[in-house]
Amino acid sequence: MTGTAFSFGIPGGGISAGILGLTLAVLVVFGLRELLAEPRAQRRWVLGAMRLLTATLAWAVAAQPRWLTERFEEREGQLAILVDVSRSMSLPRADESRQARARALLERWAASDREGVSVFTFGEHLEAAELDTLAESLPASADQTQIGGALTELLAGDGGEGLGAVVVLSDGGDRSELDVEAFAREGVRVHTVAVSEEGLRDDAIAEVQADPVGFLRRSARVRVVVRSLGGPGGPIPVTLRRDQEVVREVAVEVPPDGEAAVEIPFTPTRLGRAVYQVSIPRAAGDAVPENDERAFLVRVVRDKLRVLLVAGQPSWDQRFLRAFLKRDPATDLISFFILRNTTDLTMAGPDELALIPFPTDELFNEHLGSFDLVIFQNFEYGPYQMASYLPRIRDYVVRGGSFAMIGGPLSFHSGGYANTPISDILPVELPPAHGATGTVVEGDFAPRIADGMERHPMLELLPDPSQNVGAWGRLAELRGINRIQRVRPGATVLLEHPTVTLEGGGAHPVLVLGTAGEGRTLALTTDTTWRWGITTGGMTGDASAYERFWDRAVRWLSRDPALEPARITTDRERYGPGARATVEGVLRDARYVAHGSASVELVLRDASGEEVGRVPARTDADGRVAATLTLPERPGAYRVQAQLSGREGVIAEEWLVIEAGGDELADPRADPGLLARLAEATGAEHWDSPEAAPGLEAIDTVRRRSLGVRGTAPFSSPWAFVLVVAAFLGEWVLRRRWGRR
């Protein structure tokens, strides 16, 4: 079987060809008028014909007419029936539902004798079913209507090649912008049976759009689209709640059988995950009350990272760190430097000095909780009556704050921190008294990356691990370290001294990371990392290593998600009751080494922390994991946690929301038009109700497959152009011979 199409190769196609043809025709007519002066009729005819031939050939060469011939193969194939089992099929509940009408059709088809019929249900996924029993147990529970996904999966499956036609039985409520033309190219006819009704009454929150990240005490907005079907419209109050507490209520004017949008401002007041609900009142006769309320998650963070930097004396280490932190627009730096101490003689009265008292109470009592990160840089607490604040700093870290201690002559043991609450949270243990080896070790050294830490992001100066080790070797040497007694169990040593050892053996650490309760801590036993900037820059011309290191360090301490060793994500943020959530992620330990080929469990907990579901999974060699969780029916906020089987401790966590309605019921209208377009595009039939659908025997299952397109362009050859030139020259020669110009 063949089909033919005609076209032009000239830019602009038929229009350009037509304009060109008209132009040439006018020129020929003018030329023929000039020939009327030729007295001999034979010559007039010959020259006229030559002119016409030249013009025609020139037009053909320029316009490039061509014929496209497509050949088809037609053969009888199998029949597949796809039955929509999404939750919208349960509507309307007051009258006979779409599900009930679909069931009646399936019962009729089940009585058919037709062979070669396979049946599937679809919602979010395609699942095989039995025609004989499907009508009895037809569900309406899937959380999405994915007609395109189901067809794609069907055609790509084992039986896809032998298919002749598909029948889709659905309400057409697919909101995923289905590309019907994509299936036309497959050659399989997609017949459609629409299950729809008139006069659905529903007021709904059709759409909620909000940024997933909000900033503490900064105004944010949520855009809410409200739709009214089958009602009078008018003002509909929209209420925004957080944790059932009303945040704001606004009214939106919705036209009858239309929709309107409103933006509701809100201001997050607490850090962390927040679940907000948007709701409208239930209208009289509302067929879908589930879509009167929707929820969204906001991760509330500070717009800027708040860092408290306290330095015991001005030094180059403090100077370069302050310069780095001040330069970062994402950081709000509060710094206090001890510019003089009790032994200094300023030779001036207080009014001649620009010095201010050290506001210990404001910093460590009133505002401590407002900081994301506290850095003690070469700072001793003793002279400033700070002993009473040290427990507060420890508690701040245990509750989730971050703390870094940077070395120097006033730091670690030299700062008097042994046996204080600060030593409880440090990732290193301090010597209880001056040991025989002293509290500091002088001398230049090149720190060594601890075994297995090459892939830790804080040490990543270059992306390639082997080049990264070389980059560390090119850094300027550091100078001197504070001695520690030992590394706290569970802490992670990233850098160590190449020659100095701990009293108990093993390399002396230079950079150690740890955790204390919910918080993170860092111990850097030197005060000369500034040399990775200016000194390295002076030697190599590249001073960027210093900023890269501290950028990563601050981001790790403040739990930047991009630097977390383990992450899991869900395929959506919001689900309907009982939906299936696909969870994927990468699981690595604190050293950023993959938990490869490990047994893990994905645990689902509600907002109060109670376990409501659990599914086992296994990681691949790179620590990647994927699993599907069946969600509970109860609406609310939930979190999925990944943990190693048989071990305590959460490796990674992600939040999700279960809504009563979800996306599937947000727009409950049937869309028979979509089904009609799908059928038309694939050369199939559309029936606008189950009652109108014929028996299975009458459904055409002949598959029409294209065998290719062949194009013919007779004037694309160089000989065509030679012919034009020859015709033109022939006329010119005759004109000259017969005495014409």
Binding site: Q318, G349, P359
Partner: protein, 255 residues
């Protein structure tokens, strides 16, 4: 001009001595090389006009502030990698000098670009030789920048002491000049012979008379030196919001 009150100063000194006796311990750096050092610039074999000035500035910094100072000043050529070990350079001169070599210019550019601080001190204020050479070399090293007048409201005038204007051995111009890199003063040029006011021999005798203000002007010159070092180490720390009400009140501009 605010001059120190003798009574207040005496009380402060007495209180300082008392507290010094009670101080828990002196800070010991993680090695000599990690301490702050005033490092002089050597160029072309020229004599340094105030050889004791850098050491004396170090002594004053150590005595008056919490900065841990290496009291033995060093000297480096600008093409020597050691300038990147001590990011504070002090370049003093009193006569014209030969142009910097290409390597010296390159070293100076990198030093400034990567965060170093250069204090240039004209020990012959009023004479053209050193000044002309400085401007020529600064122009060669930083062709896209030029020395600009530094307003006396800049952080340098309140980084430790509250000062109103620059002064050195001579009262000199009412401003200093500077090259800024971003928000940071990276090159500071004073035509007040600061080193002449700081220099003191091993017996404790001031080496040069200070005019016209005598010892009070010398004290202010020393304070300016302290402020310059404090600015190099703390940058715009004193511009942080928390300092503003205290400083305004002490300058008489606030409650």
């Amino acid at each position: 001009m605010r001059s120190p009150s003798v009574t207040t100063t005496a009380i402060t000194i007495a209180a300082g001595l008392l507290l010094a006796a009670l101080a828990p311990r002196a800070a010991h750096a993680l090695g000599e090389s990690t301490r702050f050092q005033v490092r002089g610039v050597a160029h072309g074999g020229a004599d340094v006009p105030r050889p004791n000035a850098a050491r004396r500035l170090g002594v004053e910094i150590s005595k008056r502030t919490s900065v841990d100072v290496l009291r033995t000043p060093g000297t480096s050529r600008l093409d020597d990698a050691s300038i990147f070990d001590h990011p504070f350079l002090y370049w003093s001169g009193d006569a014209a000098f030969e142009p910097l070599s290409g390597a010296e210019l390159s070293g100076l550019r990198r030093f400034i670009q990567f965060g170093g601080f250069l204090l240039i001190d004209d020990a012959s204020p009023g004479a053209a030789g050193f000044d002309a050479s400085v401007r020529r070399e600064i122009g060669r090293a930083f062709p896209s920048r030029r020395l600009r007048d530094l307003p006396n409201t800049h952080t340098i005038f309140r980084s430790f002491y509250l000062l109103d204007r620059p002064e050195g051995r001579v009262r000199g111009p009412d401003h200093m000049e500077a090259i800024q890199v971003g928000e940071r003063v990276a090159v500071l040029y004073a035509r007040h012979d600061l080193g002449g006011a700081w220099a003191r021999d091993n017996l404790g005798t001031w080496e040069h008379p200070v005019t016209p203000g005598g010892d009070e002007q010398r004290e202010r010159a020393i304070r300016l030196g302290v402020n310059i070092v404090m600015y190099a180490l703390c940058l715009d720390y004193k511009d942080d919001q928390v300092h503003a009400p205290f400083i305004m009140r002490r300058r008489g501009g606030g409650p």
